[in-house]
Amino acid sequence: MAVVKLLGTWFSPYGHRVIWALKLKGILYEYIEEDVRNKSPSLLQYNPIHKQVPVLVHGGKPICESTVILQYIDEIWPQNPLLPADPYDRAVALFWIKFADDKGLLMSKLYRGNGEEQQAAVKEWLEMLEVMEEHALIGVKKFFGGDEINMVDIAFSFVAHWLGILEDVLGLEIFKPHKFPRVSSWIQNFKSSPIIKDNLPDADKMSTFLKRGREMMLTSKSN
């Protein structure tokens, strides 16, 4: 079997998406940690256009953009499918994955924002959570994938783990479980799932790392 490599960073939700997909399918891979402030020649060679992680390299050929990578993995290794077989159900799943991808940018908006910008970001987060609660999770019992995690669950992972960390870093309370019971229930199910539980970046380590990063960012903004 051709060698599988994954270039990623320990804190990124996008890299973790790929890790979970590979582990759910039982695929062995070599993980390479990238320093985004000092990008390796490999990364620049494999992803010359965006120069970003994650990048999956399969038999020497690179695949970029996490959602593109996930679909590739699902097609090459069909065991434990991550998308529905029915074309219509798959179109619905892809809709929610795109929604989650677009809203993922809210992490950065929240993290980098201050004052009014931050308030605007909080408002967008709440709107997103409402859509999850009132639309995405309707009819969902345990996971978006039914009894097993699928690509939609993976796409929304930033809500399950990274939002809580950002709240801690910024001293904000955005997610109130009683206001979003379906989201809350889904988060609990998602985070207790074995592959996910054992493969999440440490919250404390992330908090410290992000707090420092934010301090540096705000200092340089005011200078």
Partner: protein, 219 residues
């Protein structure tokens, strides 16, 4: 069972054009419904409650939203004619990457070229031209992005041709001068009936944008 296909759309929409082209490529009969975006129909709000945007493809009463998802759906359901996506997973990943690039970079930069002015527009124009050159490089000497045949990236990108005149007039530059191979590719695509009947006239798009700019107070 008789197939019922409806497309909720708006004539200058780059995204709507993609679905029109895909449906035409497959020879699918459908009902085209023009939406007034200042007065959205009850049907649109019901079929796309999350975004309330066009295009929406409604197949036997069930909505599919997001243009690229619609194109992939059309390709899968009507798979016996004019395949748009490659069958090889690595090639599929490549075309999905480029469609994503078109939406993330080219679309945003193009929007900024006609919506802004001064320094902001100058920067947008420079980056827009760079992004066009990058995708032109990807095309290379192939007749289509799909190689010998018209494919997914061609469908994703050709609608932008109907907006080229608008970008050029607003940004004061010539796309043909910067990217001659792209223009040659676009003209080749326009020879296809599915494309020619799905794209509005460039002047009509420009006139529409001028109206929009006035309406939003962008000079």
């Amino acid at each position: 069972m008789a197939e019922e296909v409806v497309l909720l759309d708006f004539w200058p929409s780059l995204f709507g054009m993609r679905s029109r082209i895909a449906l035409a490529e497959k020879g699918i009969k459908y009902e085209y419904k023009e939406e007034d975006l200042r007065n959205k129909s009850a049907l649109l709000l019901q079929m796309n409650p999350v975004h309330k945007k066009i295009p929406v493809l409604i197949h036997n009463g069930k909505p599919v939203c997001e243009s690229l998802i619609q194109v992939q759906y059309i390709d899968e359901v009507w798979h016996d004619k004019a395949p748009l996506l490659p069958s090889d997973p690595y090639q599929k990943a490549t075309v999905r990457f480029w469609a994503d690039y078109i939406d993330k970079k080219i679309y945003d930069l193009g929007s900024r070229v006609w919506k802004t002015k001064g320094e902001e527009q100058a920067t947008a124009k420079k980056e827009f031209i760079e992004s066009l050159k990058l995708i032109e490089k990807e095309l290379g000497d192939k007749p289509y992005f799909g190689g010998e045949s018209f494919g997914y990236v061609d469908v994703a990108f050709i609608p932008f041709y109907s907006w080229f005149y608008d970008y050029e007039k607003c940004g004061n530059f010539s796309i043909e001068a910067e990217c001659p191979k792209l223009i040659a590719w676009a003209k080749r695509c326009m020879q296809k009936e599915s494309v020619a009947k799905s794209l509005p006239d460039q002047q009509k798009v420009y006139d529409f944008i001028l109206q929009m700019k006035k309406h939003f107070g962008i000079e």
